[in-house]
Amino acid sequence: MGSKIEKLLIEFARIHRFMMSFLREAVSPPYEFKEIIRQCYEIGWKSFPLISLTGFIVGFVFTKQSRPSLEEFGATSWLPALISIAIVRALAPLVTALIASGKVGSQIGAELSSMNVTEQIDAMEVSGTNPTKFLVSTRIVATTFMIPVLCFYVAGIGLLGGYLSITAKDDLSFLAFFTQVFNAIEIKDIFAMVLRAVVFGFTIGFASSYVGYYSSKGTEGVGKAANSAVVSSMFLVFIEELLIVQLLSLIS
């Protein structure tokens, strides 16, 4: 029992040191702009096909499933407002974060861990360069920036899915749909969406980089790191979602 507590405390100390090291390297020059842009491309641009499909299906299916309930009260005209609130307030950031945890988290975890296994991280260190700056800071900055971008995109494509679902049965113009959508959401909803996405993006980048950077040696370590990057990212995203919802309801 004592040794388990000791291990846990050591783990916390290491997470703290990793966080401090990231913060120090992220704000202090010289900056690795080229690598940040490359990571944004890898994390953001390459996720577009998967995120497009997921966002569209979520919007389409959610609208389709919501219709019968509203139909009972003859309130199908409220569908645009309902889906816009649901997508902007909850679905877009959460769906983006969960997809990114799987796709981006596993990629970062496996990449850093295989670099660790093949001593590439040690090679960077002994050549007088800073692996935290080049490998970790760039990835965390890229996820923190790109997840909100992807989140806006998911919201847009999800609403488009919703619109197509509505027009399959009703006659509704694109302009009328989006007028209702924007009337239903407030600026604080957009703010909450961005806040969630930024927090989720940072979490996915940080957790995945951490497990990859400190993975155990051997090919098994790479598999474990990829797996635990996804699991820990998703777990933390759900915990944060819960906390942010509580926080926002307290504020409002």
Partner: protein
């Protein structure tokens, strides 16, 4: 292939390992180890696998911290430096990894540029290109400049790994099993390269190996790690002129079997 004449300054100690101990859990790898590397010298560290040879050079380069003792490298106590100071010192230490540790997402050119552009930020593009090409030419692999590490053979990867460390013109070179996993002819090439580096770049080197042909070709002096201590040191013949059952199999396997 005879080793060329090199100038060793026995008054100038570039690495001093002073009563260093290192354990991993209950496994005591190094016990009160003492070692000196002199300026211009190629020192070979021999020993069985798992005896702590690689741990020793990882301690010297600051990748690991000793449990006890002091490590003076180029006049600096490695184990007491902060991150910034350690990074500055590491620019003067070249580390050639056993598996080369090339950055596999980068071309050979980018591998060599990586430490250069980050440690010498005032260099122009033309100067960077010149440096990279010069060092690659020095290891005989200029033609591989735009290749990816995955397209290279084991021997080529070793050479590129050495070139990447030479790009910063280090004072000290640390070679971890430079001939491991290579065919005999490539081993000879790598051994010649180690001697060439010593002569051309005036480096002092520690070569970790259990390949006695390599040790004989490149070493000015040898030490043997036995049970966590350097129990034998001297020339090749001084090390192996013994009936010690822990030492004899080394020689027998390499030269008799």
């Amino acid at each position: 292939m005879e080793k060329g004449k090199v100038q060793i300054n026995y008054d100038d100690v570039v690495i001093h390992v002073d009563k260093v101990s290192k354990s991993f859990g209950d496994l005591h790898v190094l016990r009160d180890v003492d070692l000196k590397l002199y300026n211009g010298e190629n020192l070979v560290v021999l020993g069985r696998s798992g005896t702590g040879k690689s741990v020793l050079i990882k301690l010297i380069s600051g990748l690991l911290k000793p449990d006890k003792g002091d490590l003076m490298v180029l006049g600096e106590a490695v184990n007491r430096l902060d991150d910034r100071e350690l990074r500055a010192l590491r620019q003067r230490i070249g580390f050639s990894f056993q598996n080369s540790a090339l950055y596999d997402s980068m071309t050979v050119r980018e591998n060599l540029e990586f430490p250069l552009v980050r440690n010498k930020r005032n260099l122009t593009r033309a100067e960077i290109d010149k440096e990279v090409e010069e060092v690659l030419d020095g290891v005989g692999l200029l033609r591989a400049i735009n290749q990816m590490p995955s397209e290279l053979s084991g021997g080529q990867r070793k050479r590129i790994g050495i070139a990447r460390t030479l790009i910063l013109r280090p004072d000290i070179m640390l070679y971890d099993e430079p001939t491991a996993g290579l065919d005999p002819i490539t081993c000879l090439d790598i051994n010649s390269l180690i001697n060439e580096v010593q002569e051309r770049y005036n480096t002092s080197s520690i070569i970790i190996t259990h390949d006695l042909a390599c040790a004989k070709m490149v070493g000015d002096r040898m030490v043997m790690l036995l049970d966590g201590k350097f129990e034998r040191q001297g020339s090749f013949s001084e090390i192996f002129d013994t009936d010690d059952e822990r030492v004899k199999p080394f020689y027998d396997y390499n030269f008799i079997v």
